[in-house]
């Protein structure tokens, strides 16, 4: 473990490899330390690996991608400083940010001064708004879209009578982001929101929250704004009270560690993932990713969905650059955005269904259910595309 940690530290220090002048540069401020590091390290590896894979396969029309990243520690001020440093030193036309906070903080300057294509870890609904943030995109559905997909599933699968749901979210920007949309969408679909429970990330005791569920008895509970704790406590607590509730999670709470933590109590836990899982070996792109990992990282047995988000976002950057080169456009932020908006039904080898950007996001996802015996998530719906 120590060796792995030291290797990571050395990797951070040796972030910039030697490349020629004709490379296509992608900059990134990555949360390799701090509260979000559990995902940031994987996101960063996903981006680094997809670019290495593209370069191995001839690059983009013969041009190699140069990936320049630095740790930003999940702190907005530091992330902004890293962004400006990388922009000043390398002038990349594309950049990958670490958080919603960084995206919002930099948006005015990106719009007025830098004019580059900007993607990030964030699925914030606010960042997928081309009128307000013309250079920003979300590499998948927004949190609102995720609620939309889950609510559509609930509306079609009521568990007796009118479908009912409770929203259980954290008292953070991340937690509250999709809630106004979710309330509206539930109303449109005829799903009754019987409770909204707000709690802190990492809460030790959730008794009062579970008792609220005992009182309201929703058929479904959508949990959002957490990664792990207190999701296991809530699910176990409701089982202790004999409640028959289907719990659902959004992207960050659909990772393998939820199943590992819950053990047999994971059975029936559901949620949305916009990407295929690393163990879906019948998906062509997953096969390629696994083959790359076997060669480049032979010790790695599993990659979480944050790695796949990084990989997919790297594919988007590369695709936009490719469209520019195909059309003889200079690789600038404006042309890259034009390229992004022109993408229609792009085949990404099953990592996602054919990709079309709608308002700089891809409003699609699939509902998966945890199978405790198999220790993995299995799809229980087809890809659901929001209109």
């Amino acid at each position: 473990m120590l060796r792995k940690g030291l290797a990571m530290a050395v990797g951070i220090l040796m972030a910039v490899p030697a490349f020629g002048a004709d490379t296509i540069k992608v900059g990134a401020s990555q949360p390799l330390t701090g509260r979000f590091a559990f995902a940031g390290v994987q996101l960063n590896q996903g981006l680094a690996d997809v670019f290495a894979w593209i370069n191995e396969n001839g690059g983009i029309k013969g041009r190699k991608i140069e990936y320049i990243f630095e740790d930003s520690g999940y702190q907005v001020d530091r992330a902004v400083a890293v962004f400006k440093k990388i922009m000043a030193e390398h002038k990349p036309p594309m950049f990958y940010g670490e958080s919603t906070g960084q995206g919002k903080a930099l948006a005015p300057e990106i719009t007025k001064t830098y004019k580059i294509l900007y993607g990030s870890t964030s699925f914030s609904s606010e960042l997928a708004n081309p009128e307000k943030y013309p250079y920003t995109f979300v590499s998948g559905p927004t949190y609102s879209d995720m609620f939309g997909v889950l609510l559509e599933y609930i509306a079609k699968n009521p568990k007796g009578g009118k479908p009912t749901v409770a929203f259980f979210y954290s008292d953070t920007e991340f937690g509250k982001d999709p809630i106004p949309y979710a309330r509206k969408k539930a109303k449109e679909l005829g799903v009754d929101v019987v409770a909204e429970i707000v709690t802190k990330v990492g809460a030790v005791d959730v008794t009062s929250e579970v008792l609220e569920l005992v009182k309201k008895k929703p058929q479904y509970v959508i949990i959002h704004g957490f990664v792990l704790s207190p999701i296991p406590q809530v699910i176990r607590g409701s089982k202790d009270y004999g409640l028959d509730i289907s719990f659902m999670g959004t992207f960050w709470s659909m990772s393998q560690m939820i199943i590992d933590k819950l053990g047999e109590d994971a059975d029936g836990y559901m949620g949305i993932n916009p990407y295929a899982y690393y163990y879906e070996t019948d998906v062509p792109m997953i096969q390629k990713i696994r083959a790359f990992n076997q060669k480049a990282h032979p010790d790695v047995k599993h990659r979480p969905n944050s790695y796949l988000q990084g990989w997919f976002t790297g594919m988007v950057f590369a695709k936009c650059a490719e469209i520019c080169l195909e059309n003889g456009w200079e690789i600038t932020g404006d042309n890259l955005v034009k390229a992004l908006e022109s993408i229609r039904d792009w085949d990404v080898g099953g990592l996602m269904p054919p990709v079309t950007f709608v308002n700089h996001k891809v409003p699609v996802g699939r509902v998966y259910r945890a199978d405790a015996a198999k220790k993995r998530f299995v799809p229980v719906s087809d890809w659901i595309r929001l209109q």
């Binding site: 473990m1 008794t207 009062s208």
Partner: protein, 295 residues
């Protein structure tokens, strides 16, 4: 009525867990007069030692617990020797700033050694909840409370009856007088740090077993702060009383107020409201010594 009983019982149980971490603050403050803002990180480091012993070395739970306590105590002894001893006689604020820096260093070290991934403890306590009348208590909280009670009893007895415990109290009360009476003050400081870290580590194992561990686990230390202020920074019994009061207040606020407040989170605010009130009215807490320096 059942609703109220459930909230009370569960509040008492979670209060025990808070008290465990609170003991980490109290043990060090009681002997050295230092408020260790890295207590949460000692809790986190202890939880990782326990995790490594359980999962990496496949030790039984009791042995893993010993590894957690001894590991955290050893780190604390090194810290006390290398960082704090040279600061003897320096203003309190200097020492406080060092403990704040220490918390960042421990977080960074944990990430380098164990990576940033969340990790789950294998099942330590039985899955089946404990039924107390109409109240259902998750087994981890129930056993966490029992462990807290045992730890408080051991620590209280240590400070009351053990020679070293009495010497530690004497050191905290008046270093000059204690020294002139032959108390090895440096040894007492080291011992206090070791005991404080071990108590926090015990809390870390229980909290880690409830929700999993990551280098950010130490953030709970801040939440426990109102507990020790309420109980009294230098009172062992105060930690458990403070823990129970905060746990119960949190649960009552969560059960009765949160559903009616848009955006919720009254439950999270209550401990800090209590902290504010206590600092205004009785800054030394319910059972603390009156002479407490504000930092």
């Amino acid at each position: 009525m059942d609703f109220l009983i459930q909230l009370l019982v569960s509040g008492v149980a979670v209060g025990g867990v808070y008290a465990l971490v609170g003991l980490g603050f109290v043990a060090i403050f009681k002997a050295t007069g230092i408020l260790n803002f890295a207590t949460g990180e000692f809790m986190m480091i202890g939880a990782y030692f326990g995790y490594t012993a359980l999962v990496g070395l496949h030790l039984p739970f009791w042995a893993a617990l010993l590894v957690a306590l001894a590991g955290a105590a050893a780190v604390a002894l090194v810290v006390e020797r290398a960082l704090l001893r040279p600061l003897f006689g320096q203003p309190t604020i200097t020492v406080v700033m060092v403990t704040l820096g220490l918390s960042s260093i421990l977080k960074g070290l944990a990430q380098i050694i164990w990576t940033a991934e969340f990790r789950s403890f294998p099942r330590i306590f039985p899955r089946k909840p404990v039924f107390l009348g109409p109240a259902v208590v998750p087994s981890r909280l129930f056993y966490g409370f029992l462990i807290a009670l045992a730890a408080v009893a051991v620590l209280a007895a240590f400070f009351r009856y053990a020679r070293a415990g009495v010497a530690m109290r004497a050191t905290a009360s008046d270093q000059g007088a204690a020294y002139s009476l032959g108390v090895d003050i440096r040894r007492m400081f080291g011992l206090a740090w070791g005991i404080g870290a071990a108590a926090a580590a015990l809390g870390g194992v229980v909290v880690g077993a409830i929700g999993g561990i990551s280098p950010q686990l130490g953030a709970l230390g801040l939440k426990v702060f109102p507990v020790v202020i309420l109980g009294g920074l230098d009172s062992v019994a105060g930690a458990i009383v403070g823990g129970i009061l905060i746990g119960v207040l949190e649960n009552l606020a969560g059960g009765y107020l949160d559903p009616y407040v848009p955006g919720g989170s009254v439950k999270e605010v209550v401990p800090f409201l209590v902290l504010l009130l206590i600092l205004l009215v009785r800054p030394y807490g319910l059972f603390g010594t009156r002479e407490i320096e504000r930092v």
